[in-house]
């Protein structure tokens, strides 16, 4: 389990600062809250992991940043990227940020490439539109990037169509495409979920390595704690649209504080742990959506719940160096 040490001191001006970010969806049966007041900072060059179960709102954070929310979704709060609030930008202003300063890698590489376009043209498209490169130059640049994501015989393969690529290769193409413009921030939405286990590590390492070379900060959204342990400097654990615990990766794995994090880690198989007959589980089903809650969203599944957990919302409080947790157990007494 190789944890990457942070490259930049935490005192640096954050590249991205989420302040009370909320995402709400209007549904026929009422409004549902997908992201409920998330505040996070991302330092330049840092890799931040956002972990959570399905429906915890982790992907919606990324979609909100990119202005890609479904038409019934609305983002609130602020998302300051280099001091500029991404949430208040118009579509046209966003188009100058997206694909140049911020880019995104999607979950399913099988559907994230246009089946009717040669790979090289898809790579070149962004450079032609944003950087004003000629078609030939942009293509050459695209081929060079394919080479860097370790696609062998890149010049020939670039001329192929996506259906002639394997899943892992397509995701590497997506990484190449995302990093081509040398963005300051890369948003990766479960980039390896759809891939073969043997390919996952390869693709992730490649992404992290290239990101480091270019100096890109990465937000990696995943439900896979192994992925987080491998790549991330810092981790935020999300549940019911709220940050439950946030810490440096090492701290989180060695000394998890929040009952939910503890449950997640107990459910993760580890080589160095003593053999137990069964992996731990968290009872109950994950909360997804729903209206505003007065208390902690994890209450129904928490083994250590107290009476006031259902009525008072625990604040995200600092409980150690670079370690914050939102739980009444660790917070100030009620």
């Amino acid at each position: 389990m190789g944890c990457v040490t942070p490259l930049t001191p935490m005192t640096a001006e954050p590249l991205l600062s989420l302040q009370e970010l909320t995402v709400r969806f209007r549904l026929p049966q009422g409004e549902t809250v997908a992201v409920d007041g998330v505040s996070l900072d991302l330092a330049p060059g840092e890799v931040l992991g956002i972990v959570g179960e399905s429906g915890s709102g982790k992907s919606q954070i990324l979609f909100a940043l990119m202005g890609l929310l479904a038409s019934n979704g609305r983002a609130g709060g602020r998302a300051l990227f280099q001091g500029q609030d991404l949430l208040s930008l118009t579509e046209t202003e966003l188009d100058r940020v997206r694909g140049q300063q911020v880019s995104m890698i999607f979950q399913d590489p099988m559907t994230s490439l246009n089946p009717y376009m040669r790979v090289v043209d898809q790579l070149a498209e962004g450079l032609i539109v944003h950087n004003g490169l000629s078609r030939a130059d942009a293509r050459a640049e695209g081929v060079r990037m394919l080479d860097r994501v370790q696609i062998t015989d890149a010049a020939r393969r670039a001329q192929l169509y996506p259906h002639e690529f394997s899943g892992g290769m397509r995701q590497r193409v997506m990484i190449a495409m995302a990093l081509l413009a040398r963005p300051k921030l890369l948003l990766a939405d479960e980039p390896t979920t759809a891939l073969d286990v043997t390919i996952q590590a390869q693709v992730l390492d490649l992404m992290a390595e290239l990101g480091r070379e270019i100096g890109t900060s990465i937000i990696l959204v995943t439900h896979d704690l192994g992925v987080v342990a491998r790549l991330c400097d810092r981790v935020a654990v999300l549940y019911g649209g709220r940050v439950m615990e946030e810490a440096m990766a090492e701290t989180l794995f060695d000394a998890p504080s929040h009952p939910y994090t503890q449950g997640l880690l107990a459910a993760m198989p580890r080589l160095e742990a003593p053999l137990t007959p069964r992996l731990g589980t968290i009872p109950g089903t994950p909360r997804s959506g729903g209206g505003d809650l007065p208390g902690c969203p994890f209450v129904p599944r928490c083994a250590q719940r107290m009476d006031h957990c259902t009525t008072r919302r625990p604040a995200l409080q600092s409980i150690g160096p670079d370690h914050r947790s939102a739980c009444h157990l660790t917070g100030a007494a009620p």
Binding site: S71, D95, G99, D108, S112, A154, A155, A158, Y161, H163
Partner: protein, 295 residues
């Protein structure tokens, strides 16, 4: 590896696009390929055949009035009651019908595809408004529209063409709009938006190319539809007017002389039927080759 080196290595790839694969499948369809050949023959005959004769379809030959079809030079299929050569008139009429057919289908197709792609991708209120407009136009009686447009354009080919395009772009718009709607949910469209592409770039570069197989199949059905409505309107006398020939008005004059001389009806009628059959077989073949649901 230097880029020049890399580019030099890029030999012409044997890479096959989805489109190329689909056309390969189409070529394996014998009936469709035979139809393509026959259609090509008819098209060539219509556009070059008339040059083989020393007169045009509008020249009256007073030595041969209502000559029978005796396969004798120069009037192989005889003449009509004005002494005009029937074969040449049918071939020249074919030029008009085929041109209107293909051009009309192409123009209607382009308008419909772009309109549908924009509506489907934009979604929401814009989509609603655009599609209500289509529905209103759908409700407009076709023949009345043609008569109105004939008045507006002073009759003739242009009015007919406008009327045909005006009514026939609606269906491709609806079809492509449905396609674009489902495409807009695909991740590669999201990826394009995340890549900072503007709406128009996404429509032109991502949505439209992905609709192309649907468009080709529908377009191949659109051509016979256009030819048929041209013939139909000309038959009714509100389309192409004498002395200019088209299959529609040739058939019309054929029916009036049906009792005495059936071949005036048969020759243009047969050619029209052949072309329509060929186009339908081709459309069938294209659909088999392009529609993934059939396999």
């Amino acid at each position: 590896m230097s880029v020049d080196h890399a580019m030099a290595e890029a030999a012409p790839p044997r890479s096959a696009s989805t489109l190329a694969l689909q056309f390969r499948r189409f070529r394996a369809n014998r009936l469709a390929m035979a139809s393509v050949a026959l259609l090509a023959l008819i098209v060539l005959a219509c556009f070059f055949g008339p040059y083989a004769f020393p007169f045009t379809g509008e020249d009256a030959d007073f030595d041969f009035i209502s000559a029978p079809a005796e396969m004798t030079w120069p009037h192989l299929f005889g003449t009509d009651e004005y002494g005009r050569d029937l074969l040449v008139r049918v071939l020249e009429g074919g030029q008009v019908s085929l041109t209107i057919g293909f051009l009309g289908a192409a123009v209607a197709g382009v308008i419909g595809v772009l309109y549908g792609a924009v509506a489907g991708y934009a979604g929401g209120r814009a989509d609603g408004l655009m599609m209500r407009l289509v529905e209103i136009l759908y409700g407009f009686p076709y023949v009345i529209l043609v008569i109105l447009l004939s008045l507006l354009f002073g009759g003739g080919t242009l009015a007919l063409f406008a009327a045909i395009v005006f009514t026939l772009w609606l269906t491709p718009a609806v079809i492509v709009r449905a396609q674009a709607q489902s495409l807009a949910q695909k991740e590669f469209i999201q990826a394009a938006r995340a890549g900072g592409m503007t709406g128009w770039q996404i429509v032109v570069e991502h949505i439209v190319p992905n609709c192309i197989s649907v468009v080709i199949v529908y377009g191949s059905l659109l051509v016979p539809e256009v030819i048929l409505s041209e013939s139909f309107l000309s038959f009714l006398g509100i389309g192409i007017k004498e002395p200019q020939a088209s299959w529609g008005n040739l058939i019309a004059s054929g029916t009036s002389a049906m009792d005495s001389d059936l071949r005036l009806l048969l020759l243009p009628g047969t050619l029209l039927a052949l072309v329509l059959l060929c186009l339908n077989f081709i459309a069938d073949g294209l659909r088999d080759a392009f529609d993934p649901n059939d396999r």
